[in-house]
């Protein structure tokens, strides 16, 4: 199973990024191999629709589960039918969230927000 975690920096010590769609990186953690890698989020600088593009990136990279503080409704519309499960992040490092998940300490993310769409 591949876990995806939005991160501020390219490191396991990094804090989880408060934003899903505009996080600079995603940590991808393969639970079978216990290996991690970091993905640059090409959606971070999008003028709009960042959540959709970021969700697409995770789907294309075969993520099974996303650990995040929050998730917008458009991103959820892509992640949910793709079978990516959403879990609520703890205010800890990326590594600590991975171990919290391994110990079944994470709760499912209960709600998605309406997004932060800006006007034109």
């Amino acid at each position: 199973m591949i876990l995806a975690i939005p991160s501020d920096k390219e490191s396991l010590d990094s804090a989880i990024c408060v934003s899903f769609g505009r996080a600079p990186f995603y940590c991808l953690f393969n639970t079978e191999e216990q290996q991690n890698s970091f993905l640059v989020n090409s959606a971070a600088e999008s003028p709009g629709g960042a959540g959709i593009k970021a969700a697409q990136l995770l789907v294309d990279n075969k993520a099974d589960l996303l650990i995040t503080f929050r998730c917008g409704e458009n991103a959820a519309k892509v992640l949910e039918p793709a079978g990516v499960k959403l879990f609520k992040a703890l205010n800890l490092s990326v590594a600590d969230n991975i171990s919290a998940h391994q110990q079944n300490k994470l709760e499912p993310l209960q709600e998605v927000h309406a997004g932060f769409h800006h006007g034109h």
Partner: protein, 294 residues
């Protein structure tokens, strides 16, 4: 009678940096004192000009935009449309293509790049528009549906119905894409400003916009009181002509809040708005003469 030099009467747009400064007040009253005018309410998110004009409804239509639809039997999940879309309006899960209509900007690019010809265009309504009359004023107004992200296509539709009469455009507040689109056809812009420091900052914002777009412009000072007016100071500092003052007056506020048109009911206001319109028209013709490109 001499032939008119100008083929059409000018188009004057009324702008301000924020809502509530008096754009609609000025637009409605200027339209009302003209012998003949077309009023276009481009504030499609919150149109309120027709609350004053209460016009007849002679023409109505839906405003639609083109959006892509996918034929799932033809789509092979190649991902090209998803990669092409600059607005991220498409997502692909396996072979299932998702289209986010409210994010789509109707560019047609996805249809163009699809190697399978699986995408085609359909019309999606995003609002409506109407045309009617109120006395000597032809009223054009549009309303965007709740939840839509951009009113620009509605403003485009409204402007297509502009005729050769003097046209007063009631622009949306601020300096967004909606405003840029609203003043595209304007020969002249009138910036309405409040007599506060906040008001002068809002004035600076729209002043920057009209300067950037190379639009001739002047200011009308609204709700003026005795004492220093930061917006007036801004005009002096930047050499912006001032067409007139609308002094703060509870009587005007009351008429306006009841949806009445002051210039139609009150001799004093008829005179005040006529003077502003006359000055504006003089500025337009002076500027037109001075600009050889026109």
């Amino acid at each position: 009678m001499q032939a008119s030099i100008m083929a059409t009467d000018p188009t004057i747009a009324i702008l301000s940096g924020k809502g509530g400064t008096g754009k609609t007040l000025l637009s409605v009253n200027l339209s009302s004192v003209a012998a003949m005018a077309t009023y276009i309410d481009c504030d499609v998110e919150e149109p309120n000009g027709n609350l004053f004009f209460k016009p007849s409804r002679e023409f109505e239509k839906l405003v639609t935009v083109k959006k892509p639809v996918v034929d799932e039997t033809l789509c092979d999940g190649c991902h090209k449309c998803v990669d092409f879309c600059a607005f991220n309006a498409l997502a692909l899960i396996g072979k299932r293509l998702m289209i986010f209509d409210e994010i789509c900007h109707s560019c047609g690019g996805c249809i163009y790049v699809c190697p399978q010809k699986a995408l085609s265009e359909s019309e999606r309504p995003i609002g409506e528009m109407s045309i009617g009359h109120s006395g000597s004023v032809r009223c054009i107004s549009g309303t965007m549906n709740i939840g839509e992200s951009s009113g620009v296509p509605i403003i485009e539709a409204l402007l297509k119905h502009k005729d050769g009469n003097l046209t007063i455009i009631d622009a949306p507040p601020g300096s967004s894409c909606l405003v840029t689109e609203s003043i595209r056809l304007a020969d002249f812009c009138i910036l309405v400003a409040e007599p506060t420091i906040f008001g002068s900052h809002n004035l600076a914002m729209v002043h920057q916009l009209v300067t950037l777009l190379g639009k001739k412009h002047a200011v009308v000072l609204n709700k003026t009181l005795e004492g220093v007016n930061p917006s007036e100071e801004y005009c002096k500092k930047n050499n912006i002509p001032i067409l007139g003052n609308i002094p703060f007056d509870k009587r005007l506020g009351k008429m306006n809040s009841e949806g009445r048109i002051a210039a139609r009911e009150d001799a004093h206001y008829h005179k005040l708005f006529s003077a502003i319109l006359e000055k504006a028209l003089k500025e337009v013709s002076d500027e037109t003469a001075a600009d050889p490109q026109r």
